[in-house]
């Protein structure tokens, strides 16, 4: 057998497998139901279903929502936080702000560790790193023993000003390790050696609550792959759009908080560029949620101000993705005031939508699509059969009867609300950042993206929708396209003109040696390692800083200051060259380059879409039921041109092409839908 690269992406409902054959340069995919009780089962099921011999695998990469789901559901093992006396509520007080400034009934969600599980010890470091009070050993031991009594198995140690002097945190860690030898301990100065207690504490707490779950999961998977004959390292995608090996996941599980989300965004960028679009909106609609990413000028936006939920920051560079609770499994319901709502609650994989016949009796978007005949009754190549009678019953009971509407109309209303919610979210990320969506292409993917993409684009006046060849496993494709990446930082505050450039160079050198150590631990050959220095600076007295590239050597800082003035001018239309510039933080990005798949375009194009598998009535709003050809995507050639309405079925997804549109399949096998009259 030829050698292959394999990517597996775990979603809320399905686990997707994407296999790149290094000889044929072709991709094949498979899909198995997710197994939320233990996602690993589905990963290995997928490997088995795809007939992969792990001995042939040269690279195995993995995107997982294990961390994201755990954070959202607060489904953690017994965890605790140990902090400086007087500061146990830092993660609950946060910065006090509300997400919704005006709705007094909408609250910010609670902290990751409840108050009853947060404990204080006597110790204090001041702003300069001086010890005001050493760690009270007896107090520390008392807390450690209390945690043992409570069977805690992961602990976040978060002390004030520990970024300036981590000694007390380190000592606390030692005591915890003595008293709770089996527990994982995350200290804030190691996880994020940066100023501002809430950002650092919360990132550390998120790391701690995820630690046993995520690293246990990744290690078990790694062991199973090894046992099957895979010789390389498992690469796990992280929020920053790079990947890590299990050794680093063990230390920094919080970096996986947006693993699955980042994969989709990377795939959207890749597909848009393949089609010649530098500006694109990625709409990744899965079973429980939709992730929206913006590609502008060929780049994905990276942010350090990132969070899974408002008010709980995770301060690592992350791809900027907006997630809303709208997915195939989102529940439709009538609220207390009698209006039709859609999401964010989801039927998930268990009990699942009513049509899954797995115990769910509440209607979801999938049920509405089945009722409207948009979705056929067989999913994932026959792996999952859908029960239309149950879908109809759920829509009738919960939506149609209370609203006194015909069933098809009710199902269509459910879809319209879902589409409007997604369109609003796209507006939020595009228009609100100064972009007109009409200048963008919409890349629709995920299990349900291709079902909804064209109508969402229509709401937004977006002229072109791209459906990649395997929309249901696009995130898995994204996993194949990334390098190993680490982001390191260090505080360094002082006026640039007075800065000790030797000390600065020394700090970079030490960050670099830490970075190289990490890459070597991940078995990256030195010639594949790439280190990029950046420095954050600001005008003295400013509060936010700008990050610019900086070279090495003693003259580098002066050059970086010039770059800072230029970038400030470019971004904010003014600079103040006569004002002192302050250095704030040093950053280092360490990249371990991994080989990328090279795709090949189709050589022959054929405009004939072929013969539809069947004609079935599909419901399209005002047009009512319209006889619609249903094609098998696998049978459609590159170059095929056709008009809506049409439904295109394939193994991992169903594409709805509404009336009044035209579509073409390009040489990369993407479907491009062009909307008319907009």
């Amino acid at each position: 057998m030829s050698q292959v690269r394999v990517a597996v992406d775990v979603g809320g409902t399905f686990t997707d497998v994407c296999i790149f054959d290094e000889e044929s340069h072709k991709i094949r995919v498979t899909k198995v139901p997710s197994t939320p009780h233990d996602p690993l089962v589905a990963v290995m099921n997928g490997v088995a279903r795809a007939n992969i011999d792990l001995e042939d695998v040269t690279l195995f990469s993995h995107g997982t929502t294990v961390a994201t789901n755990a954070l959202i559901t607060r489904n953690f093992p017994p965890a605790a936080m140990v902090t400086t006396r007087g500061f146990r509520d830092v993660i609950e007080i946060r910065d006090g702000t509300k997400d919704d400034l005006w709705d007094a009934y909408k609250d910010v969600s609670g902290p990751y560790i409840r108050r009853r599980d947060r404990f204080e010890v006597t110790e204090r470091i001041d702003y300069a790193g001086n010890t005001v009070m050493p760690l009270d050993e007896a107090d520390a031991r008392r807390v450690a023993q209390l945690l043992r009594k409570r069977n805690v198995n992961t602990v976040a140690v978060c002390f004030m000003n520990s970024y300036a002097n981590p000694q007390n945190e380190i000592r606390m860690r030692e005591i915890l390790e003595e008293e709770l030898p089996n527990a994982t301990v995350s200290t804030s100065a190691e996880i994020l050696p940066e100023i501002f207690e809430h950002d650092r504490f919360n990132t550390t707490v998120a790391n701690a609550v995820l630690a046993p779950l995520v690293s246990g999961y990744v290690n078990r998977l790694s062991d199973q792959l090894k046992a099957g004959g895979y010789k390389g390292d498992l690469l796990v995608l992280h929020s920053g759009g790079g990947s890590m090996t299990p050794r680093m996941v063990e230390r920094y599980p919080v970096r996986l908080a947006a693993s699955g989300i980042a994969a989709g965004a990377i795939a959207a960028k890749h597909v848009a560029q393949q089609c010649g679009y530098e500006n694109a909106v990625g709409l990744d609609m899965g079973g429980t949620s939709t992730d929206i990413a913006l590609v502008s000028g060929g780049e994905l936006r990276i942010t350090k101000e990132w969070q899974v939920e408002y008010g709980h920051p995770i301060i690592f560079p992350s791809i900027d993705v907006l997630t809303i609770g709208a997915g195939g499994g989102s529940l439709a319901y009538i609220d207390i005031a009698g209006s039709l709502r859609n999401g964010p609650q989801s039927a998930g994989a268990d009990p699942g939508p009513a049509c899954y016949d797995t115990g769910g009796d509440q209607p979801t978007n999938s049920d509405a699509n089945v009722v409207l005949n948009r979705l056929g009754t067989s999913l994932a190549g026959g792996a999952k059969n859908l029960n239309k009678a149950l879908a109809t019953e759920a829509i009738k009971k919960v939506i149609a009867d209370p609203l006194n509407m015909p069933i098809a109309e009710a199902a269509h209303a459910v879809i319209q609300v879902a589409n409007a919610n997604m369109a609003d979210a796209v507006r939020l990320v595009s228009i609100r950042r100064g972009h007109d969506p009409r200048d963008f292409a919409l890349v629709a993917f995920g299990g349900a993206g291709a079902l909804h993409g064209a109508e969402v684009a229509c709401e937004l006046n977006i002229p072109t929708v791209i459906i990649p060849p395997n929309p249901g496993v696009a995130s898995a494709l994204g996993c194949l396209l990334v390098d190993i990446r680490h982001d390191l930082s260090s505080m360094f505050t002082g006026i640039a003109a007075d800065a000790d450039t030797e000390a600065l160079e020394g700090m970079y050198v030490s960050l670099e040696s830490e970075a190289m150590a990490r890459l070597r631990q991940e078995r990256v050959a030195d010639e594949n390692a790439l280190l990029q220095r950046q420095i954050s600076m600001r005008y003295l007295g400013q509060w936010r800083s700008l990050s610019v590239s900086i070279g090495s050597g003693l003259g580098a800082l002066a050059e970086a200051v010039e770059t800072f003035h230029e970038q400030h001018e470019r971004e904010f239309a003014f600079s103040q060259k006569d004002q002192p510039v302050e250095v704030y933080q040093l950053h280092l990005t360490a990249i371990g380059k991994t080989p990328k798949p090279s795709f090949k375009p189709a050589v022959e194009l054929n405009a004939d879409p072929g013969t539809p598998r069947e004609i079935r009535p599909v419901y399209f709003g005002e047009l009512g039921w319209v006889d619609t050809p249903v094609f098998d995507r696998d049978d459609m050639p590159a170059g095929a041109m056709f008009s809506g309405p049409a439904v295109i079925d394939q193994f991992d997804s169903t594409t709805v092409i509404p009336p009044n549109t035209t579509a073409v399949i390009d040489e990369w096998m993407n479907i491009l839908i062009h909307l008319e009259e907009i």
Binding site: G96, T97, D126, Y127
Partner: protein
């Protein structure tokens, strides 16, 4: 080319829905982009903490769109400031001009809030104004941070900036700018903010001109008017589903230091009729002898922001102001102070009272969105010389806290939340403060028993304390309220806790400094602590479930002692190490019956006796407040007889009138 003001033509046809939607969102974007830029370039840590706002105004100065993340307190003041510039400069407004204004007697908020206003020109005429308003850390005056509690007139408070030109036809008037910033304690930072804010308005200008290019000037002008009409229409549609009628309430500030003890009334009457929503503030108190007075701009702001809380999804612009009107009465009152009365502390004074009073009224109209009183906005300022370095620079430790919001009709109040004055106003990171000032924070934590008891408890408040480590010539000032007019409950709920600062608490030199004081000398080694109140409770606390009270005890939000006294729930600890507690149901049934039978009597107990028992240590502060409804000087235990009488009347209306009558 200058001097013409564009007037939108009377639209013959409505804009198509897509264009209208795109432009409405684009206006919002142009304003939010201003906000994003100012956040990333500002110098004032107060601006950085989101005490700023941005607006696009039309050529007549009416607000077309306010920033979606704007602080509530600036709502409804930006059009006044824009109109003040128009009145002052008339036709002498040119491309490339930028104006500054901070005048609270021209509809501004307080002197620290400096607005920069840039006219946007198209085809030789003004089509709009871009405005950014931000809170400078200092604007001069008697005290660092420019919050002089003792000020009675504005002359010592800080620099008053009537509309003034800072850029003229693109030329920076450095002499004028220098005059402004030289009147502050941090001229270099003020100059930085002056540039940052002015440049932010240019971002909005670029966006609007892009829209004019793409959609035509006429369409953009049309859409600016449509956007206002749309908001007015939306509010009026909503009113169709609401009852018509008249509602009244009174909220109080603590006292007027120029008078005997006694609460200071702010009266609100709301009328809903076919014409819309109308407020009348007749009967509110005359100006007080501190800076806790409100100018007309901020009074209107409180009215709009308070009302908007019950219409959370309606965008804010002058269309809203057309549907919501108010008669705030003649000058000379706490709600319409007028020149030259000091108004800088309006935010802790009338503003909060108006907003919470409006919440109380709307809680009757929309009971499903009811909310009891929230904690009071508070600012603690410590300024002096920082002895940690040889040059001993000036430092300003300027701190505000989150606190609790009121209990609601279906759930507890939101705890540890930014003030209603601005739900986006972020509290500062302690580690940042410690770098900048010689103050070591001793605690920043949730206050046990700080939430007002109720069927739905008020949200929890915060306690923050600190010690001065190395300072010279330092003084402390505090701008707050509600040490006596305590954060109240509704529908049978109870009050939370009083605000106020304690100096050297628990030592021989302990002093209760109260909720409003100025320039108290403090030295290295002095420690201070103050709470922020929790929210008031909603509904009868004796109806709260055992399980909810038990959970509160496990999390330390409520003490075992107060679980019994406030809720009548008897809880015993089994093994606190493992969070094992038990509710004694039989004892609780008995205790609840006992409280129900006696609580009206407790509220009638002789206040002098209550005061004596507090002084003797027989009862504590929360017993005095929640059980007996008596108001004391919390430091000395001295009785405030008039205040107590007024306070008990309120408690009867908001709390005890809702309790079932149970025979003893």
């Amino acid at each position: 080319m200058s001097g013409t003001i564009a007037v939108p033509l009377a639209p013959t046809t409505a804009l198509d829905p897509v264009t209208f939607e795109v432009l409405k969102n684009a206006f919002a974007t142009s304003v939010d982009l201003m906000s994003e830029q100012i956040l990333r370039t500002c110098y004032s840590f107060v601006i950085y903490s989101r005490d700023f706002s941005s607006a696009l105004c039309d050529a007549a100065g009416n607000t077309v769109m306010q920033g979606s993340g704007d602080i509530a307190v600036h709502v409804g003041t930006l059009h006044f400031q824009c109109k003040a510039v128009l009145e002052e400069f008339g036709t002498d407004i040119n491309p490339g001009d930028v104006f500054a204004i901070n005048d609270p007697y021209r509809g501004g908020t307080h002197f620290n809030d400096v607005s920069f206003i840039r006219p946007i020109f198209s085809g030789g005429e003004v089509i709009a104004f871009a405005q950014n308003k931000g809170h400078w850390a200092d604007i001069g005056g008697n005290v660092p941070g420019s919050f002089d509690v003792n000020a009675k007139e504005h002359f010592g408070e800080g620099l008053r900036i009537t509309p003034v030109r800072i850029w003229s036809r693109g030329v920076f008037l450095h002499d004028v700018a220098q005059l402004l910033v030289s009147n502050t304690r941090a001229p270099r930072q003020a100059m930085g903010d002056l540039h940052a804010q002015s440049e932010a308005t240019a971002v909005c200008e670029r966006e609007i001109l892009r829209l004019v290019d793409r959609y035509s000037k006429a369409t953009v002008l049309h859409a600016m008017q449509e956007t206002q009409d749309y908001v007015e229409r939306t509010v009026r549609r909503r009113l169709e589903g609401l009852p018509h009628g008249v509602w009244e309430t009174t909220d109080y500030m603590d006292n007027d230091p120029g008078k005997e003890e006694g609460l200071v009334p702010i009266k609100i009457k709301l009328t809903i009729d076919a014409n819309g929503i109308h407020y009348d503030l007749a009967g509110s108190a005359p100006v007080v002898a501190t800076f806790l007075n409100s100018g007309y701009g901020t009074t209107f702001s409180a009215i709009y922001a308070g009302t908007k809380t019950f219409f959370p999804d309606v965008p804010l612009n002058s269309g809203f102001y057309a549907a919501v009107t108010a008669d705030i009465g003649p000058e000379g009152t706490v709600v319409n102070a007028g020149w030259p009365n000091a108004v800088t502390g309006f935010c802790s004074g009338p503003y909060e009272k108006l907003m919470n009073g409006i919440f109380e009224i709307w809680s009757k109209i929309m009971p499903e969105r009811a909310m009891a009183c929230a904690f009071n906005l508070e600012y603690l300022l410590v300024g002096g010389k920082d002895g940690r370095t040889e040059d001993s620079p000036y430092f300003m430790w300027y701190d505000w806290m989150a606190g609790g919001w009121g209990g609601r009709a279906s759930k507890d109040g939101s705890g540890a939340t930014a003030p209603v004055f601005g739900a986006g106003l972020a509290v500062q990171p302690v580690e940042g403060q410690e770098r900048l000032s010689p103050v070591l924070t001793s605690m920043h934590q949730i206050g046990m028993d700080s939430g007002g008891p109720g069927r739905f408890r008020g949200g929890v408040g915060i306690e923050k304390g600190g010690m001065l480590t190395d300072a010279q010539n330092a003084v402390m000032s505090y701008c707050c309220d509600r040490a006596r007019s305590i954060t109240w409950g509704i529908e049978g709920g109870l009050p939370s806790i009083p605000h106020g600062v304690w100096l050297n608490k628990g030592t021989e030199s302990e002093r209760f400094l109260g909720s409003n004081f100025s320039s108290v000398p403090v030295q290295s080694g002095d420690s201070f602590v103050r709470p922020s109140a929790g929210g008031g409770g909603y509904g009868d606390p004796l109806e709260r479930t055992y399980l909810e009270v038990l959970d509160d005890v496990i999390d330390g939000y409520v003490s075992v002692g107060r679980a019994a006294k406030d809720y009548g729930v008897v809880i015993t600890a089994i093994d606190p190490d493992l969070d094992a507690y038990e509710v004694d149901e039989a004892a609780s049934v008995e205790l609840r019956h006992d409280i129900a039978a006696h609580r009206l009597g407790w509220l009638a107990e002789d206040p002098a006796t209550v005061s004596a028992r507090y002084i003797s240590g027989d009862i504590d502060m929360l017993d005095v407040i929640r059980r007996y409804g008596v108001i004391l000087d919390w430091g000395t235990g001295e009785l405030f007889a008039t205040t107590t009488r007024e306070h008990r009347a309120l408690m009867e209306r908001r709390s005890s009138a809702h309790w079932p009558v149970v025979p003893a």
